[in-house]
Subunit: 247 residues, 2 copies
């Protein structure tokens, strides 16, 4: 038996957003590897071994998955959303770089619906023009770099999507990000807090930058900040396709 | 009969990347509205009316779809990729803004796998850290704004995804973008040209910024530019999760 490894995106939560490609990989797998809550989204069946692990052990998890595939197992590493966006695909290639023998394995990355695009769809079309995606966690980068990127992108007129905006371990940094935005954007700038999108816990909140408070975000929230043209229409928000005075 | 309108993302091409949510909407629709090549991806069946239209008539198309839904039809407006990323969702809300009576309609946006994430998955994990998505077309914005955003994002260390990099009507602007990047990034910076990803015409090319020439891109290409840490491992490229010296 020849082993393989797929890093698969489960989408934001709703099974109706899981691609057939990922469903097929899950149905052919012998082993599912991933953060516990994501592994729990895969249906158990005879012969399928589940390997749930804790958060923040991405490299160990990747190495374990690679070892299983090298031993001939058919392994799916599950990520929420898209595996290439602040998720397991980069960790997997970091592990391959450390042990180049793994590069000969049959590896594939299976895309999924990432949180910012699921949230944007629920809200209307807030990312309908140029946008930037920023992971606000300083777990793997200095917070000064987060600040620099937020400012640069906002000043250049990008809409923004923030992943991992706020956690119990770092409750104050998102307040700093809001202050930075207030320093360079008008008070009426629209900001959306989309929590647990497409799950039974979904909540959506759209406010102005003047009204935004840090407590509107937690680790299950993706935060979308419009550009200067982003506006409300009916119950939606959207960003026009044109910019800079061109119509 | 009560009409509805869904703006649906068909993904990059492969039917295995079409979400069940979109498949379900297509199966319940009475009318499919969209740019001809995208409408052609929907299977014909008795009772389903196809309304293919030309490129660059997005507002007319949106208004037509809204009129159909207002008349009680079940309408799916099809986009390639994700409808919220440089596609039909913004155009639809622009049309609603012009005629607010449409805001009372049953409208939903159904996300899809957008080209940059499908391309990233094929290539490895080049967008594994903070990144910006920029539409290089100056159809609806001044090219000076494109230039400003490319520079700002590259200088702030974002990986970049370029949509609509180059067309027959504007063959020279992408050369200017490459020159801008060469002015602020090292010559070994990795740049990937992903054309018609997941279709039979798919081609992937990874070169350095020094090696890149404008002819590597056309309108079916999404261009991904790594950040300073993006590197090759085996046959893939990936961007590490860490930055700024943090490990």
């Amino acid at each position: 038996m020849s082993g393989w490894l797929a890093v698969a995106g489960l989408g934001p939560g709703d099974a109706a957003l899981l691609t057939p490609e990922v469903s097929e990989a899950l149905s052919r797998a012998t082993d599912i590897v991933g953060y516990g809550p994501y592994v729990a989204r895969v249906s158990a069946r005879p012969g399928l071994v589940l390997h749930p692990s804790d958060n923040r052990v991405e490299l160990d998890r990747a190495r374990h998955a690679l070892e299983l595939a090298a031993a001939g197992r058919r392994v799916v590493v599950v990520s929420s959303g898209d595996p290439g966006v602040f998720a397991m695909a980069s960790a997997l290639f970091e592990a391959v770089e450390v042990e180049p023998r793994f590069a000969a394995l049959d590896i594939s990355i299976l895309p999924g619906i990432t949180a910012m695009l699921a949230a944007a769809a629920r809200l209307g079309a807030p990312l309908g023009h140029d946008f930037a995606a920023i992971n606000l966690s300083d777990n793997l980068k200095p917070f000064a770099l987060v600040e620099r990127r937020v400012l640069a992108a906002a000043q250049a007129g990008f809409a923004l999507a923030f992943y991992n905006p706020r956690s119990a371990a770092r409750p104050h940094q998102f307040a700093r990000v809001l202050d930075l935005l207030r320093g360079c954007c008008e008070p009426g700038r629209l900001i959306a807090f989309a929590r647990a999108v497409t799950t039974p816990d979904e909540s959506l909140q759209v406010v102005t930058l003047a009204e935004a408070v840090p407590e509107m975000a937690d680790m299950r929230t993706v935060v979308l900040v419009g550009n200067a043209d982003t506006r409300r229409v009916g119950r939606w928000i959207y960003t026009p396709r044109s910019a800079g005075g061109v119509r």
